[in-house]
């Protein structure tokens, strides 16, 4: 199985159905397929060894993704927001690749290999001679290289092979299952696994994608209505901005059947408000990692509805990532590798056909096929998976393992707090002590003592921060993951 097959099938079955809208331009499935084949031939005639994409969401993005697949070349989306210093080594590591860029200046790039992205949609961007596309692309070939910035340091190149991504798509999406009027609004960045998985799933289901170049709450809401969007996906930061922007008034998105979220932990207060404002919309929480070809667990609309209706068990499960997909196995193990019982927190391991667990430089999959996610979590008696956070972020205070997320959730529940970060700071007596950094909501005020009291009411004393500081904002990745190492450096600095 090769990624290009996904589009080829949709193009031959759905033909003139609209596939992608970006600004005023819409490409049908047949047009997208033709453009991807034309670009594939051109990439090969240029002698390219890969296809780098450096820019925002645009109709040229799917053309580049499927063009790379038709050519049998790896697709490598880079974070266009990175500074020159960080972008240049990534560009240089992919020397030989054609670079599809939003602007002509790409640090470290060979100018002859830079192609402005608007060119991809131009029929004159084609190979002169008769370049034949490879008749067979091995499912073992690398389809996509994603630099996972993670939250803890130097980017690593995660490798996803054709077989991983196609296993995810054909295992979870019904081919051409979408109604012709369905449309998905996409604002997640193209260099994130969610943006890629989203593209593949929607193209295979026959659902039109509407791209927004950048996120703005009002533009996003307007687009929901104007484009009659039926599916949308957001990261927590975006939903928080939408909720704040709506300021209590209903979202008025009558066509929106599903709103899915993921990419980082969703603060419960944001989710609860969103459930209230998006009447008639089903919410889906998707959990996955780059190394697992996106989603491996889902919390579906019924679970959200039950929680919203006040079911106490469902309310607890609103803090979970739901159940793992069919075909995915999960184990929770202790530090020594022993499999833990239901309800016991430990390290989360995953296994399944979509799980790659491979980087440029080696695989971290063990002999039995298990991938260590490095997330801590547990499973409840009905197989709901709860994720506490990254194992590296766990605070060990006096021998007790403390998940920062639990304390952050409590702080965020305070009226005056919009964001919170909890980290462990070195301490001679306890090993680590708990420190919190909070951001106060505009127009609100709160003192340190009040926050200590608030934490003590809601948490065991061993989990109450011993130090609380205020900042104007907290550092996040573009998908909303908190950069705890930067918070810690700031506190220690």
């Amino acid at each position: 199985m090769n990624l290009s097959l996904l589009l080829e099938m949709s193009a031959s079955t759905l033909e003139d159905r609209p596939a992608v809208t970006s600004g005023s331009r819409t490409l049908s499935y047949a047009q997208l397929d033709a453009a991807a084949r034309r670009c594939a031939a051109k990439f090969l005639s240029m002698g390219a060894t890969g296809v780098v994409y450096c820019g925002t969401n645009d109709a040229s993005f799917p053309v580049a993704v499927f063009g790379a697949a038709y050519a049998g070349l790896p697709f490598i989306p880079l974070n266009y927001r990175l500074g020159e210093e960080q972008l240049q080594p990534l560009v240089e590591a992919n020397r030989g690749a054609v670079i599809i860029a939003e602007t002509a200046k790409v640090p470290g790039a060979d100018p002859e290999m830079v192609v402005l992205r608007s060119t991809l949609l131009d029929a004159s961007f084609a190979s002169g001679a008769d370049v034949e596309l490879p008749p067979f692309v091995d499912p073992e070939d690398v389809a996509i290289v994603l630099y996972t910035s993670g939250t803890s340091g130097t980017p690593k190149a995660a490798l996803l092979r054709h077989r991983h991504l196609t296993a995810y798509v054909i295992g979870t999406v019904e081919f051409a299952g979408a109604e012709p009027e369905q449309a998905a609004l996409v604002t997640v960045p193209p260099y994130h696994i969610a943006g890629l998985a989203n593209l593949l799933s929607n193209m295979y289901s026959g659902r039109r994608i509407v791209y927004l170049e950048s996120f703005d709450a009002q533009v996003w809401l307007d687009t929901l209505r104007n484009e009659r969007i039926t599916q949308a996906m957001v990261v927590p930061t975006m939903l928080a901005r939408v909720v704040q922007h709506l300021d209590g008034s209903p979202a008025d998105a009558p066509n929106l059947a599903t709103l899915s979220y993921g990419g980082a932990r969703m603060p419960l207060p944001v989710l609860e408000q969103a459930l209230e404002l998006f009447v008639g919309t089903g919410f889906v929480n998707a959990y996955g990692l780059t190394e697992t070809s996106s989603t491996i667990a889902l919390l579906g609309p019924e679970d959200h509805d039950a929680a919203f209706a006040g079911d106490p068990v469902a309310k607890v499960r609103l803090g979970s990532v739901g159940k793992v997909l069919p075909g995915i196995e999960v184990e929770v193990r202790d530090e020594d590798g022993n499999v833990l019982a239901v309800g016991e927190p430990g390290l989360v391991f995953l296994r399944g056909e979509q799980v790659s667990g491979e980087y440029d430089g080696g695989s971290v999959i063990d002999a039995e096929g298990w991938f260590p996610t490095k997330d801590r979590g547990w499973i409840d008696e009905d197989d709901y998976l709860f994720i506490e956070g990254r194992a590296d972020d766990t605070i060990i205070r006096g021998g007790e393992n403390i998940a920062p997320a639990e304390i952050e959730d409590v702080l965020r529940r305070h009226d005056a707090i919009v964001d919170a970060a909890v980290v462990g700071i070195p301490d001679d007596e306890w090993g680590q002590q708990i420190a919190a950094v909070v951001v106060i909501a505009p127009g609100k005020s709160v003192g340190v003592d009040e926050l200590y009291d608030f934490c003590q009411q809601h948490l065991r004393s061993s989990k109450t921060p011993y130090r609380i500081e205020f900042r104007d904002e907290l550092p996040h990745t573009p998908t909303g993951k908190l950069l705890r190492r930067e918070v810690l450096a700031d506190l220690l600095g």
Partner: protein, 101 residues
């Protein structure tokens, strides 16, 4: 015929085209409408099946034969029905999931 993952197969007589999702673990003869499928790049005379009984083969459906382990995805539909060593190959049930992306 060498059937490996990713191979493209086709019916010589009808429009059915297949992609191998999982190769067989033991040798198997895969037929469409009673005729052995061929490499998709091979010569396909067409002409249709004399006997078009059965449900045909549906695009986007996965067909899996438990005995041999072979699993294929139908990339182009047609009237021919798949069989592995004469056994009809059933559609592999997919559980629809709520849209997550």
């Amino acid at each position: 015929m060498d059937i490996k993952a990713g191979s493209r197969l086709a019916c010589p007589e009808c429009s059915v085209e297949l992609v191998v999702v999982r190769p067989p673990s033991s040798a198997v003869v895969l037929t469409c409408g009673g005729v052995e499928v061929v490499d998709a790049a091979a010569d396909r005379p067409g002409g249709g099946h004399a006997d078009a009984s059965g449900d045909g083969t549906l695009v986007g459906k996965r067909y899996a034969d438990e005995d041999s382990g072979i699993e294929v995805l139908c990339a182009k539909p047609g009237p021919g029905t798949l069989a592995a060593d004469g056994r009809e190959v059933p559609i592999k049930g997919a559980k629809p999931l709520p849209s997550s992306d």
